[in-house]
Symmetry: D4
Subunit: 158 residues, 8 copies
């Protein structure tokens, strides 16, 4: 059963959000991916958010661009941790997505990531860190993953 | 029966949105004002948006600040014209509210106004212009109002 | 007779504003498109704005970039609803167009859309929503259009 | 007869534009000040711009804030040099006024100054520099004025 | 034993971060608050981050302003979820703090909140949502808290 | 003898500043173009600025990018009107050039144009407008040029 | 004999630049402070920069606001290390000063500090770090100063 | 023995930081280049910073992008002068890197350069200027280098 949900509102977001999926796959953690838009399928978003906890979801990751309401609207309907990924946009390069995702009013937290692919990958890692609090297997893998980061940097041949 | 709805999500928005109410009052057009938040009362927002047309509402005006999802979420649930007023915020001075209100994805239009009180007043006037298309009485008043603007500027004693 | 006017000031705006025309065509609503610039043909702009209502125009949509005065200048001369589309610009990516369009002073409303093509398409849809208040045929089509949005999102194969 | 015109669209701009008037007074050069708004008195603006040259005006200075169309609209109707002063605004601190004044399309030049009072004073000085090209008296005074700037800085007691 | 750590680098951050503490107190969840700076006490930050998990900490919340490295540096040394609160700054109003907190490179997630007090309060709530995944008592309280938000909005007397 | 000087500090500015030269050529007005940099050839800049008036120059146009000090430094050494063209830059797209050119302190006016080529062309036109105050021939050509702008817009085939 | 120069162009910069002086005084290192403006006293700036090295100056610190050319112009005339402090401005809060100071073209380095007082204090400390490379006494004091920073943070009573 | 260290945290920074290396090579000054990341190899960064002075390093240059903590973290652990180069980023074009590098809190100076390659080259030159204070050979070369800048500009054929 999937513990992590990856939501996005437009086909063009998929290239970015694939980074989230890839890191979860790398860790062997199941996820479900859904096309849901706060603006185009608002009812489905509400239903999904309201039933997520009962369906075993522990963390919801939402990617959206421009006037990016998706993560905030999901957070409005659930007490699960919600992670928002601001998608890079054509004109404003994701500054619009970033401010619409991060500047949430008090009482409705959204964990905002960096704009674009680095943010999408980190969304997956943060979800894993959250699960790892009560899952020793993921914890171990995260610790190994962190150690391996050193290698990446050392590969820089100067 | 009210033809114009004024919605806002927080007490602190009232000082701004009163400008909308005042200009509608000046024109003698009925409105209803509601406290509804896309993030704190999401179900009520959806219900309100879905039933607005049947309740005789012709135009919905929504004021919100920060990650301002309110106007967009209402627009997601109705085919009535929706006008968004970006409320000035403490840190980013409404730049966050502006981008979250105006950068709507295609298919879900929101008519965005200027940040703060000038935008709130103009939201009322735009709603009146929309009603005036099929209401000659309002049309007349708008034309007189426009003529009187000249006086305001001429009052500048230099 | 055209009820909707689409105005732009430069050839390079046409690619963007074609989105407005396309959505109106899709709805079978007549429009007229004009090349008029607040800076290069200021007299023609004023004449057009002053006579639009008598010519049967109900809504004016104006696209402009940079120091984008077009929508505001038209709004200065008419009580018809005016919708502004900020065109993306080479250096500042439309942030200049956006602020020049949206930050209107009180008393002169302009309904500002998103930067670029999404904004241009939404300008057409907002004009249709405005007409739909007193035109049941357009209202019906808008409701169907909104329902079909769900399909677009569901097409996301994940 | 006044050779320099100072135009502004709102009472609140006067505090800033008084700087322009003061520096012209200091140089003993006549000016006329007018309340004219591109948005609230658009016809008067056009008439003023069209007749300015015949009325002996050599340089027009226009102060405006927000979606600041005034300088650009005047420049659209005259071949006189037009100087624009972006007035500081409440929310965006004049960044909106600046971009709406400076980002003019090609063919319609506006000489943009700094935001607020320093810009207003410099607008007066630039107008004087322009007149000085064919007016030796003003030229002399400008050279003396420039020399005196040294004193201002030397007064800094450290 | 404290499960949540609140870290900040300067006395002036305390007024903001008190919001985090207050909401945790309201939920009856223990926390520890520490003055630790990535720039002024870098060794202590590293030691704290490295030992946090063994000391029973489940979530670390870090508030910092300007070139806000604190949350990122902590995240570099732990696999615990790290939440960053960008503190409002004097000149740039927290835009600097926001970008330094949110634009993390891939592999090192930081959950960024809104600038200032709303972000600080939400940091506390997000930490609670994370704990609630494996703590039914907190889950219940969060659900009640969410329901009570409706009342706050309804209190708006219009 | 050249009445207009076009100055720039780097080879890469030439593509932009050629627009200034082209419009002056179109009007048959002589100009001189110089490579001079406030940062790389500071002495030559000062000498040029100090001697420009005696050499018959009436208006100086300076193009520079990034920390664009050129126009301001020239203006510091002369009472001739100085026009600044902010060159588009690689990272910040000319926002840096714009602010460094336009935000001059009081007492040292620089007439700032739009970023990039539109600004460069307008710099030439503004210089012509300044000369036209005491040169009827240029005045006539400017009036014809303005009339022809109407044709450019009318060429938009819609 | 002073080894460090503190330069500023306007009386209003003194409040900020006093921070630089204070930290140098605290370290017992002599400095000289001068009122010199790239725009108002350009000749004096050039003379000062050209003779600084021969006068025993090792590091020059320049504070300026708005179109802040001072540090760059000094760097253009000397091979001494130049440190720039962007002064906070009224409208744009120092974003203009920052970009005009930091975005220097290649070949003319300026060491840019943070906007305002923190930057002014750090300018003094950086100058000390530079002198400390060949001055063991200052090196010792800097190391003690760094150790004492820990205390400042520990004073936070939580 | 290397007196200058060039540090960077990611392979993609190398293209930019090569500019630093190239200018040092041109001056015949030895440097060492290391791949070290504040976020991915935090322990190695600390060790490197703590031992740099004993290893004969006089100046440390650090290039980083996004939430660029590298220069600041190094500065936290050493009293050597630290120069920060903000690397251009994909979405925000280095504005994030710039603010994270330059907006350092007081007591921890970082000498910030321009975004990208011009900044990287200037970092090398500033390091040379710092060494030149007590190294006459480098001083001579810097003076010759500065004189040669004049030629670069004169090569502009206009």
């Amino acid at each position: 059963m999937s513990k992590i949900a990856i939501i996005m509102g437009s086909k063009s977001d998929l290239e970015t959000m694939q980074e989230t999926a890839d890191v979860l796959k790398e860790f062997g953690v199941e996820y479900q991916m859904r096309g849901l838009s706060a603006h185009r399928t608002p009812k489905e978003v509400v239903e999904y958010a309201l039933s997520a906890k009962d369906n075993g979801i522990k963390v919801i990751i939402a990617g959206a661009g421009g006037a990016a309401a998706l993560a905030g609207v999901i957070a409005a309907h659930t007490t699960l941790p919600v992670i928002g990924v601001p998608i890079e946009t054509k004109s404003l390069k994701g500054m619009d997505s970033l401010l619409s995702t991060v500047q949430m009013p008090d009482d409705i937290p959204v964990a905002c990531m960096a704009i674009g692919k680095p943010g999408a990958k980190n969304a997956g890692l943060l979800a894993l860190e959250i699960l790892a609090i009560s899952d020793n297997g993921i914890q171990k893998k995260l610790e190994r993953y962190k150690k391996d980061l050193v290698k990446k940097v050392k590969e820089i041949r100067l």
